[in-house]
Symmetry: C3
Subunit: 468 residues, 3 copies
């Protein structure tokens, strides 16, 4: 084991490291709960082998290709498909060599930790990826991927996954989840209700989406009441396929609790494509409150992911489409934005709303104070750009003083990169134990408390918050 | 001493810890100056025993009940009085048991440190509070509270309080302070002039408050000049009762320096309840500049506490009234907001204005650069949600590089919880010494300098800034 | 060596310190690249001795005099020239004694580190500056400054400067640079194109500046096309005098990419002094995009310094003029502000735009995500108030996880204080090595990687980014 230090991410001070190591040993092998992510359910339905190394590790991973892009590498050279179907690099080995020659860019980043972890623990590669080792890596990974032990279900079991949530749009037929369920395989792969495309009047093809929403649910989605009913029907359908949560990716955290007549009028105009940007924002905000009310009825946990400026580069959007690494965080306000929702349902202890942010300044100023008093609120783990060892440590250090750990929900990996799941959870466990060890070391916690908290942070909080 | 580690909060690295311990030993037993807080002067006037443990530690402490609320505990079950006088839990032991069963929620929070400190040092309790120990705790605390050594004045002396400031509204008769003064007791309990209710046109009953303000001062508070004179008279009255400072809790840091005619016109309309939200904000802002000018005359130090969104939950406000843990920080701007005030009086070295924020992002960007150049400005310690070991460390690390320590004012406990005062000051001393020890350890300070700075941070800066 | 700890700023933990020391030893003596700063080229052209100690260390250094001002010292007493030419203190020794008596104010600040470093390494002073040592210091420094080894060129060589960039306005005749070039001296002192006074319609005497701009370049600067051509001509002139970069100090990071007719119309109105504040801001924003387009042609690296509220105190501006320590950071937005520029040229890998901020909240939320994907963007080091050991550590810890180190550009000293250059670079090297040592210590980097990165952070990144 040459790349992975067995004590990686544990505190440098020897006495504190010993405490952290003991805490980590207690949780290192606990099953993984992955209650929020973006893996593809088809993998587990069909259980086909993963494609070549480049298509597993490079082409689909926006953490990887955005860094190479920042240093002038064309996404087409990495095999990222063009929107117009034009030619891109297709040779896996060529892509892999280009990636390998830039691997030094990831020094000090979480991506490097995740990749090294997968390379070493899954593929027994123990000298660093570089131009010199590129072909050796490629051959080893390709060879292993062809074997049955590296098919999706085998890896799922090898990873110790207790439950894995994927995320599907409201219009998805969930056929892969059905296929998984009907296959008799014991792996728990569940869906999450993500209705953005039927909630956001600015989504591409919104009116068509709503029409399709009506067809799927048998509801009259040309009317406001029918539209709400369609959500209820669809949520029930997702619940049948395992969903315990909904997820909402909005540009801001704005919520509204409009009079029903006003919401109905906005909806009618939305169908006609007749909303201003402000109206569209109000409608999205109102729908969060409607979703929360439905959660009170059907028990789905509600997740709000706010504050990403999507597809910042129009040139890249035109050439390669959405989700190509050009989503950039923006300043996000929660205290005033969430008030309508909280006024409506925030005091309900039978509701769970999990908040995620891309603006770390709100941890101490807004989110911890809100979650530290409203029964319905919980804080999700550091999201996206902050899903790093440093980012997680900042979160614990700044949130706990006001909200404690019991208003947080453990770790989410939020990943599309299946092979990074064990690495990501391992990093989270190590960081949590490092943080706890500091508190034990400077007399703020007893060891038994810390052990219990390490368990909760690893397993208990996620299971409870997501009702798994 | 089972709960309190004698080296708690000192650095984990052994060499640095030794330095910190030496620094801490030099200041651990210095008298406490508490120049800003919210204890009740009646306690020291009447010197009656404190009520039962629940009413001492749970029911009045918003840090405690907000955390329990966040996990679904009804405030009524904790004995928090309802606004309509309706029934709430009244049995101290029942409340205490409920609290004890949730004590794990406070792991890693400053509240836990403060409570454990009081439990162990005042009540010789040394196994952690829990459901199992709840009754033992209750009996022990109740028994001690009944003894003379636990009456307010005895505790004041036991705590080593050199001076304790309370905070009273401009309309307060200060009778408890008078009673303390006339009692012959040597404890220095002084008041602070807090005129928010006669400055904020949006305060409940503003016009009535102004009328009462006129009666108390013999000034014609229907006129602008008379209103200003009433402030002067009242400030003098507070000074007679020991006040060395005023305090101003405003939603924002906005200041104005309006022409007198314009301010007078706003005031006239304020009395008629005829101000827009914007006008009200301008009036409050202008009054900060008027207060600063009066400070130049009478020497009162001026404190500005800005940036709290008060009573965020209307349901809780309606059911339990104000100050029930639902005050949430909001983003706060100082550079433009303070400019009118600073243009008027910021260059005056004979004026002291102490700034507090609930938005930590302004420490490095705005407050340290401002306090690091304007003679009239000083920075108050981390306030409210940031009054934690981590929060204090962040403050020192980020403010000192630009403003040094001599533009800060030592520690304020800002508490309503009398028994937490020694714990809070002890935490501050430990954190300051831990921070200094790091600077000594990495060669940035000599030991003698650090010792002098530890003294200043503990005692000298507060005494000087507050003119005590 | 009594003041400077040889291990200063290295980690307190012994094992990590050993790693850091080894890394530091590898870079401590590398040549200094100073690609952005404000030293006076006249020093190197004329090579006259520096004046007395007060005029070297106190009167021109805004870090120094702003701190004394904050504690009530009048700038006139420090010899800062009055705008009206009125009397100020002129006796160097008197000024020095006043400074010395306040030296404790700098404890824990970077200024103290820089000064002590210069005092000890240049003047062999090894007991701390204070009232008691003031005269000894004064005499020693004055004596040395009179010797040839302390003339500017000798110090330049002694400091190991490989290249030093100064900053000149677009209207500067660059005669000192010409004189340096013609002198045959081997020191590389180059200029930087700073066109703010001919780009900002709100600059003093904008129309006159534009007229002069036309005279200097032979272009018709009454027309938009002629004005743009004048920039091209002037940039070429600066390139002849060594410039590899332009620099832009704007109140915000706003950019625009207006239709040329619209830009031309704004320019015409700007010449007439007929722009609103909003129009002026739009014009400045548009010119950043024009400058970027010119950079694509002539290869100058573009630096954007945004977010300073200049000359905050009107009283000080009136009495002492600009740049007297009253520039205060303000909240700054980049994601939307830079979009027009990035839409135009952000995907060009042959362009380098280096961003600086005075708002640290944008490091993780905006700048690292932007620089971590756009090929044209790089992040400048912590600027101005954040040019401290703590500030640099915050930058590395928060930026690297998203952008890596290869989207940053090493260290800039940005100083007017020539004697502080070695100290500032030494601090940067120590902090970078301390940071790297932590990553090595907790298993995130190999030692060889860290050594390579330490080299890059010290030397390679600056040379590459600034095309030196």
């Amino acid at each position: 084991m040459a790349m992975l230090d067995p004590d990686r991410l544990l505190p440098n001070n020897p006495a504190t490291r010993r405490i952290a190591r003991r805490l980590y040993e207690g949780v290192a092998d606990l099953p993984i709960i992955s209650p929020h992510g973006h893996t593809d359910p088809r993998w587990f339905a069909e259980n086909e082998p993963f494609p070549d190394p480049a298509r597993l590790f490079v082409t689909p991973d926006h953490y990887v290709f955005r860094m190479l892009c920042s240093q002038g590498v064309d996404l087409a050279a990495l095999g990222v498909p063009r929107a117009d179907g034009g030619p891109v690099e297709t040779d896996g080995r060529t892509i892999w060599r280009l990636f390998a020659s830039h691997y030094h860019l990831f020094r000090g980043t979480p991506t490097r930790m995740w990749l090294d972890h997968a390379f070493e623990t899954l593929f027994d590669l123990d000298s660093r990826l570089s131009t010199a080792t590129a072909d050796f890596y490629y051959d080893r990974i390709a060879e292993r991927l062809a074997s049955d032990e590296y098919r999706p279900r085998a890896l799922f079991e090898r990873f110790g996954l207790e439950a894995l949530s994927t995320t599907e749009g409201a219009l998805d037929d969930l056929k892969w989840h059905r296929q998984i369920a009907e296959s008799g395989w014991s792996g728990r792969v569940i869906t999450t209700y993500r209705p953005d495309t039927v909630i956001d009047p600015e989504a591409d093809g919104f009116a068509d989406n709503i029409a399709r929403f009506g067809e799927l649910t048998g509801c009259d989605t040309t009317s406001w009441d029918g539209y709400l009913e369609a959500h209820r029907v669809r949520r029930a359908f997702f619940k049948e396929h395992g969903a315990t949560a909904s997820d909402h990716g909005h540009p801001t955290a704005r919520t509204e609790d409009l009079p029903q007549a006003e919401a109905a009028a906005l909806f009618a105009r939305a169908l006609k494509g007749d909303l201003s940007a402000e109206d569209a924002d109000a409608f999205r905000g109102h729908m969060l409150t409607e979703m929360a009310r439905m959660s009170l009825d059907d028990g789905l946990v509600m997740q709000i992911h706010a504050g990403s400026y999507r597809n910042h580069s129009p040139a890249t959007l035109a050439r390669f489409g959405r989700d190509k690494g050009f989503d950039i965080p923006v300043r996000t306000e929660f205290v005033r934005a969430l008030k309508p929702l909280l006024d409506a349902v925030g005091m309900r202890p039978d509701l769970t709303i999990i908040l995620f942010t891309l603006d770390e300044t709100v941890y101490s100023r807004e989110l911890a104070p809100l979650a530290g008093v409203y029964p319905a609120l919980r804080l999700g783990p550091p999201w996206w750009f902050f899903d790093s060892a440093e980012g997680m440590m900042r979160f614990r250090r700044i949130v706990t003083e006001t909200a404690g750990i019991y208003n947080t929900v453990g770790f989410n990996d939020d990943t599309r990169a299946f092979c990074s799941i064990p690495a990501r959870h391992d990093v989270a466990r190590r960081v949590d134990c490092a943080w706890l060890a500091e508190l034990v070391g400077d007399g703020r916690l007893d060891m038994e408390e810390a052990e219990e908290m390490a368990h909760d942070l690893t397993h208990g909080l996620a299971r409870k918050a997501y009702r798994l």
